[in-house]
């Protein structure tokens, strides 16, 4: 079979048993939310080489979309109020720079680090929203992608802070002044593990949010297959959840960026 229609055909030949159909629907849902070596759309079906995967293509498409958005459609309008698409992008850019980057890292570091957080925000937002469009899949619903993003945060939390404050001050931040040494023995390892845990939490939060949202949408549509016309109201609910997902796409991009800024800011200015 060249496309995922075989699941539909399996479904048609399956016994007229609700449990059997539910099993195939389950397979269909998992097939759609996990990464695979194929890219199926109603228009074409691609079998990708082994070094390539569906979500990797989505990452590339997201990058190209962003480059086109900011490179071709963005027009810098000197001296007058921006209009149209430029206005929409500029509002988001200013929001990320002022309310996330500068708010958590201070005026000087915030301006310097703004490109990182802008990249985080727009890249995650594009990946999330692409998952809601037909033809595309959610790259951020893959734990490898979100781990990659979180490891960038980790890199800046450790090496960026070392570069900004010097290695001595970086390690001193783990031992706050005025704490007796018996407590420090317990406190320091916890602080160091916390550094990793924060990034793992970032990974899991984005990944599980996107994955869980899509599973809910697919399961609601799958109810229609399992129970037939009795489950027609589920279609309305699937639509409602899909709209909720649009909100969640923005929220998770914001949350990832703001938490990254918070964690990095904590390491840059430990005296806080």
């Amino acid at each position: 079979m060249t496309n995922n229609l075989h699941i539909v055909e399996d479904l048609q030949t399956a016994a007229h048993d609700t449990a059997d159909r539910a099993h195939y629907v389950n397979q269909w849902v998992m097939h759609h939310v996990t990464d695979s070596g194929q890219w199926h759309t109603p228009l074409w079906s691609l079998h990708l080489p082994p070094w390539m995967s569906n979500n990797a293509i989505m990452l590339m498409v997201a990058s190209v979309l962003l480059i086109v958005c900011f490179g071709a459609f963005y027009r810098y309008q000197q001296g007058k109020a921006p209009r149209g698409w430029t206005n929409a992008l500029e509002a988001l850019v200013l929001f990320v720079r002022n309310d996330i980057s500068i708010a958590y890292l201070g005026e000087k570091d915030g301006r310097k680090m703004a490109p990182l957080f802008l990249t985080f925000f727009f890249f995650i937002l594009t990946c999330n929203l692409m998952g809601l469009c037909p033809l595309f899949s959610t790259a951020t619903g893959n734990i490898n992608v979100t781990f990659g993003l979180a490891s960038v945060t980790f890199f800046f939390m450790v090496f960026g802070a070392m570069y900004a404050n010097g290695p001595v001050k970086f390690f001193k931040a783990f031992a706050p002044a005025g704490v007796p040494w018996p407590i420090l023995i317990i406190l320091m390892p916890i602080e160091m593990i916390g550094l990793v845990i924060k990034c793992v939490a970032l990974t899991i939060r984005l990944f599980a949010n996107m994955l869980a949202g899509h599973i809910v949408v697919f399961s609601l549509v799958g109810l229609l297959v399992t129970f037939g016309y009795w489950a027609l109201p589920a279609l309305g609910m699937a639509l409602a959840i899909n709209l909720l997902e649009v909100f969640i796409a923005f929220l998770q991009a914001y949350v990832f960026t703001v938490l990254s800024a918070m964690f990095i800011g904590e390491m840059y200015h430990p005296a806080h």
Partner: protein, 66 residues
């Protein structure tokens, strides 16, 4: 019957309690000081995200156990 389903339910219980508490506190704070509403909203969303992260840890473990 897989017990991990029960675990997912328990996780939802805890997360709902936490997020509900944050929401109600934020409502109270905002009604007392409407001028501080944007700041409170930001702090609320961040706290919600932290709780959600823990809840999703549980959800992921349920997925893995299934």
């Amino acid at each position: 019957m897989n017990l991990s389903v029960l675990g997912a339910g328990l996780v939802v219980f805890g997360a709902a309690f936490g997020i509900g508490w944050i929401g109600s506190s934020a409502m109270k704070a905002m009604s007392r000081q409407p001028e501080a509403a944007p700041k409170i909203q930001t702090a609320m969303l961040i706290a919600c995200a932290l709780i959600e992260g823990v809840a999703l840890f549980g959800a992921v473990i349920c997925f893995l156990a299934n």
